[in-house]
């Protein structure tokens, strides 16, 4: 009797294990044994055949089993699903690693892809093979927490600390702290020739000095602290200490705040910002 109950629990456990991530038979056995359930490879194979016999679509890829469809799921219509599927097809067109994901998506949702959606996605996202390759590399590095990288960009070698990938109408950008030029940079993925993890020991990158700036009036009420900022509140003013962003990033923001923000210290950065504002005024006057 107990054997029968165990069999029932096992089949659903194996389904859970496979949906968590694709696995080979050995990995499935290990996972089951961690939960106190004994099953040898032969038995697990039988369970996999049973799952397939019932009607789950399974596929073996690189030695691992994927479950791509379920007879229990009734496909539903979602306009958003079509948009996502078109983007997956467009971004990862020739990439077989994403085939199981695409197949699953098609099996789960009633996709009525019309040409208009395809055209819209193609128009909004200009993708090349190099861009797709770089997207995958950057995402893998972010997942492995290897954000310090060496990049070859338009023939130039750069050391970067990756922040994120940003999408825009004029391209797809890798946004990062540029350790070589000590600025914040957005580099177009199509021009990146190679990205590799930086194996040097200096892994953490900090700006030379923090900057303290005062915020006043309506900005004081509306200000939202950015990453790495601390606020010190006084009676009539608030001082923000930013020790995370590079000074060029902070300067760009402070320009937008106008007279509602003022750099307090260090004096060097205050003088530099003042000089920058003067230069901008001259620049606009000469336009």
């Amino acid at each position: 009797m107990s054997g029968s109950i165990d069999s029932g629990v096992k089949i659903f456990l194996i389904l859970d294990i496979l949906f968590e991530s694709p696995k080979n038979i050995e990995e499935i056995c290990k996972k089951l044994s961690k939960q106190g359930i004994k099953a040898d490879k032969k038995t697990v194979s039988k369970y996999l055949r049973t799952i397939k016999q019932f009607g789950f679509q399974t596929e073996k890829r690189n030695g691992k089993f994927h479950v791509l469809s379920s007879p229990f799921e009734s496909k539903e219509n979602f306009e958003g699903a079509e948009i996502i599927f078109c983007i997956i097809e467009h971004f990862f067109k020739n990439n077989i690693e994403y085939e199981p994901f695409k197949t699953k998506f098609e099996n789960m949702f009633n996709l009525k892809i019309n040409r208009k959606t395809h055209e819209l996605i193609k128009e909004k996202f200009k993708i090349s093979e190099n861009i797709t390759k770089n997207i995958q590399t950057v995402n893998n590095l972010i997942k492995q927490d290897k954000k310090e990288v060496n990049v070859l960009y338009k023939g130039k070698k750069l050391k970067l600390s990756i922040k994120e990938i940003k999408f825009a109408k004029n391209g797809i950008f890798l946004c990062a702290k540029n350790k070589t030029e000590r600025t914040f940079s957005c580099l177009k993925l199509e021009y990146i020739e190679s990205i590799k993890p930086d194996k040097t020991k200096i892994s953490k990158f900090k700006p030379e000095n923090g900057i303290n700036f005062k915020i006043k009036n309506t900005l004081r009420k509306n200000y939202i602290l950015k990453k790495g900022e601390i606020a010190h509140h006084f009676k009539d003013e608030t001082i923000i200490t930013n020790s995370y962003e590079e000074k060029e990033e902070i300067f760009s923001r402070l320009l937008k705040y106008g007279k509602n923000a003022e750099i307090v210290s260090p004096k060097k950065e205050r003088d530099l910002f003042q000089k920058k504002v003067k230069e901008l005024i001259e620049h606009y006057n000469s336009m």
Binding site: Q53, I88, K278
Partner: protein, 306 residues
Amino acid sequence: MNEANQKGILLTGLRLLYILELLSKKSASKKEVSNYVKEKTKIENYSKETLKLDINSLIKSGFQLKRTGARENFRYELLKKPIFLKFNKEETETAEFIKNAVLEVLDYKEILAVRNFFNSNKELFSNECGIFDFEGFNSINQKTMDKIDELIQKNLPARIIYSSPLNGRKEFMGYIQAVTTRNNKLYLSLYDDMFGNKLSFRADKIQNIEAASAVSKPLKKHENVYKYTVTKSFFDNNPILKSEKITKTDDKYVEIENYEHDEFFVIQRLLFIGKNCVKIPDCRLKEKIITILNDTLGVYEKCQAQ
């Protein structure tokens, strides 16, 4: 009970799956379950005791099953439909990546369609990622957006009840000029006769919107286009905004038209572009920027004088 071995499959497991399949479509009596399993698995004998064991196995596996009473003829009922097919962690991360692309590039209708899709299918994704975070679009009411669309299409004036974070609940009336996305938030531009001005509202702070009675003055629709030229290197190394459109480009410069409805945000943009902006045909706009910069400089020079 030993595992029956038919063609290398496990009959117990197969029986459970078929019982689950039947009950996920409708409730069933013992007899109906038994007949269904026999038909699907091609077995001749399926005892009551075995059926009972199978039902217990399903319960042990976490499925919520209940047996109704005499009035309902002792039927088995599945309380929650099973969901097997889900996206694993890697697939969810890919979906999140695509969500970010949608948020940053596509128009608000497409963003809301994708948001609604994720919100309706939360149980299918691993919840370790920020896949459900659509930032300024999170709290937007779909009915509000449908009403806004209707008012725009029919060119009717709107009455808006707005919840301002600073000034509380307020009412506004006017014609909707545009719906714009900025920094992953959605804004409504309204031309209000009383204020004689364009007002900008966060769509997720709109409490209510409906058609207003006719406004006395005839209103003109304001179409603002702000033009400026930036360096090619700025264009190549910075994402452009959704409201910006490229009109001309050569080796050194890129001419841009910005269809932003609120001049404040255009000025912010130009301040960010800084020296990389090489031409602004609108002198009035240029003067405003110079004034802001002079006011900023004044703060530093005043301190120096002191």
